[in-house]
Structures are given as structure tokens and as C-alpha cells.
Point group: C2
């Protein structure tokens, strides 16, 4: 039930009981295993996904089988995408990084609630524009920094946003790290090794730890 969901306040704080009920009526829960596709780029956008547990990568399928990971989502996050209100198609693929549980809300019901609740609509706009600001930063990071700067950015993203800790175990592969930073996996591995040799980070398989935050920050800022 949406009404007693632990993420209710975070996601639907602006909704009236009746509106929440409307979303709840057209809702179903699904579990995905690691590697499974939750949304597929190009397919119809019929539902909005709200993550209750696990993590997923959101990526654009680009040219020559190359992907660009634009975000990693976890519990308490809502995923719609720019197809909402426009062409109602998915413009990215969402794939589970581990065991994932989501609530799927009907996109039409969702849009109706936006029409009836202007506060909620404004909150959604705020959310969209926040993502827009992040996209602008990503444009600069990807086009104006060279590899060490981009890898540093990715490490900070994983530490600060995804795992909220300077020491963490990633769910993503080296290829995924490369897909986050628009480079080849060989290059990503090389930079990681350079950082390790310079004692900026500790890396051992999936375990990452930031050792010298200031130096890493400097690399991130200067590109």
C-alpha cells in the first residue's frame, strides 16, 4: 500500500489521500534479478518505477553498442524519464545491478495526479530541473575533462551519492565505470591503477576506498 510506504513522504509528500489511492489502485510490485532489464530504451513508457530496494543503472544505448550510464538509482528514487508527457517511450534502458524491488505506477494515473495537484506538479518540475542541472554538469565533465578528471568524478559520485561513504563495495563492473565516464574499459582500469599507485584510492576487486580526498578533488576540478 502506497499509504503506508516508507518512501511516501519523500516521493509523494504533496499528494492528497485520494490521489495516493489513485496511484495505489493502478500499482504493482515486481522483483528483478541482477542483470534483468526493468525498462528498455525504445519501448512504451506505460509505468513509472519507484525503487524500494536494490540498485539499477540507467543508461543510454548509443552508437556501435556503446552505452552511456547517466545515473545509478536506489531505494526511494522514482524513475520516469523524458518520454513522460512527450512521446511516451523510454529514452534509456534501466537494468538491475542486484536484486531489485520496484513499484510500478501507471503513467496515465500519474499524469492525472499531476493535473489535479499543482503542488505535486511543481515538485515534479523541480525534480526534472534538478536533473537538468546535473546533466549540464555532466556535459562539462564528459566533454571538457580528460580521463583522470572523469574517473575522479565517477568515484565521488559513487562515494557521495550512491554509497554515501568513502569506503564502499561497488555493484558495477569496470565496463560500467567506463560507460559512466565515456571511455574504454582498458582506459578506466589504467586510470584506476594510476590512482591506486599514487595512493589516492584503494581498489581491490569491487572494494573502493578514497584515501586522499583533497588530491582526488583537485583532479576532479582541474580535469
Amino acid at each position: 500500500m502506497c499509504t503506508n510506504c516508507s518512501f511516501k513522504q519523500q516521493l509523494f509528500g504533496n499528494l492528497l489521500p485520494g490521489e495516493l489511492q489513485l496511484l495505489n489502485n493502478n500499482r504493482y510490485e515486481v522483483r528483478y534479478k541482477k542483470g534483468e532489464t526493468i525498462f528498455k530504451q525504445g519501448s512504451a513508457l506505460t509505468h513509472i518505477a519507484c525503487f524500494t530496494s536494490g540498485m539499477a543503472k540507467i543508461f543510454i544505448e548509443g552508437l556501435n553498442n556503446r552505452n552511456l550510464i547517466i545515473k545509478i538509482v536506489k531505494n526511494g528514487e522514482m524513475v520516469g524519464g523524458p518520454g513522460m508527457h512527450t512521446d511516451f517511450r523510454h529514452h534509456f534502458t534501466v537494468s538491475a545491478l542486484n536484486e531489485v524491488q520496484v513499484c510500478l505506477l501507471d503513467a496515465e494515473a500519474f499524469q492525472n495526479v499531476i493535473k489535479t495537484n499543482s503542488k505535486f506538479a511543481l515538485a515534479m518540475m523541480r525534480k526534472m530541473n534538478k536533473q537538468g542541472i546535473l546533466n549540464f554538469e555532466k556535459f562539462i565533465n564528459l566533454t571538457q575533462k580528460q580521463m583522470p578528471g572523469r574517473i575522479a568524478d565517477a568515484i565521488f559520485y559513487l562515494a557521495d551519492v550512491v554509497h554515501e561513504n568513502d569506503s564502499f563495495d561497488v555493484e558495477i563492473s569496470r565496463q560500467d565505470l567506463a560507460d559512466m565516464t565515456a571511455m574504454t574499459k582498458e582506459s578506466a582500469i589504467r586510470i584506476l591503477k594510476e590512482f591506486k599507485d599514487a595512493k589516492l584510492i584503494q581498489v581491490e576487486g569491487n572494494h573502493f576506498e578514497i584515501l586522499n580526498k583533497e588530491a582526488l578533488r583537485k583532479i576532479s576540478l582541474t580535469g
Copy 2:
């Protein structure tokens, strides 16, 4: 008066007379000369600009004095930006490419109208998401195509979107073309010359003309 503006339908088709009046009450017109700054990145977002004549470039000021042009706007277009509803700061700079005339609408009044008119709010969301889809395409273009593909994209953008003609005179410099495609001006000039030598386009100063659309399209698609 907004009520008899020639772009009224295009921009504010969903508004009630009273709402349009509200925007009109807090509105003023400004003319900018070529090169002048309309909005400056980092400054307060107090107004939304509606272009009635002329052209402007919208660009993110990035690292080491490098810019990334994300859009070229002309008459009938509205420019707010992702600072709207969030931190109310500009996240890009808007600079006039020639003599420009804009109507500046109060951002607060604008937000109030969004609150009272759900159809308008939805139309704004649609607009935001359409830009979001374009941004996704731009991510792929800039990170997964090499220089010829990116220049081809820029030429198609100028022809199809900005000038709506395969033969056109640009208001932008070679440096601007480089800033649209995330490369140096030297590289941009070189690719332009290659295209010219291959008889794909005709370039003479500010005059551009697409000669071989199919070949250019192929370069754009394959990167």
C-alpha cells in the same frame, strides 16, 4: 501586450485571459545588441525571456574558459532554464548573436500561473522533457562520435532547426561552431574544409550550403 502577441498561441495557448494579463503586468521589453549578454550564468534567475526577434546562443561556461553551446534560440522561443523552480540561478549564459528583442516575464508570476493552470504546467513539463530528449541525443553525439560526425550534426542543426533551409548564412563564428561540437576551432575549420573538398557542403565565409545531404547524413549517423 501579451494578449495580441504574434507568438501568443505558440507560447501561451493554454492560458486564460486573466493569467496572460498577470504575465503582461510584470513584463518589460529589452533590445540587445550583438554580443551583449542577456542572461549570465551564476546570476539570479528573476525573469523568463521570450524572443520576439533576433538570435542568441545559449552556452554553459565550463573549464578553462571553454564554452559549450547547447542551443541557438530565435523568435517565438522561451528561455528559462533548469534554475527555474530550483535554485533560481542561471545555469547557462545567453548571448545575442545579432540585434535581439526579448520580452522579460517575471519568474514569480510565471510560477504562479503554473500553479493555477494545470494544462499550462503540463505543457511546460512537455517542453522540459523534449529538451531532455535532445540532451540525451547530445550526450551521444558529443561522447560517441568523432569530429566529422559532430560537425555534420551541427550543420544539420543549423540547416534544419535554426535556419530551416539547406542554404543559409550563419550568425555564429568558427569558434562558436567549435563550442557546439566540443572541439577546438582549428579542428572545426579543418573538418569544414574536408567537407568542402569532398563537395558535401559549400562554405564561403558565413554562407553555408548543403550539397550532398545523403553523404552528410551518413557521416552524422556513423560518427
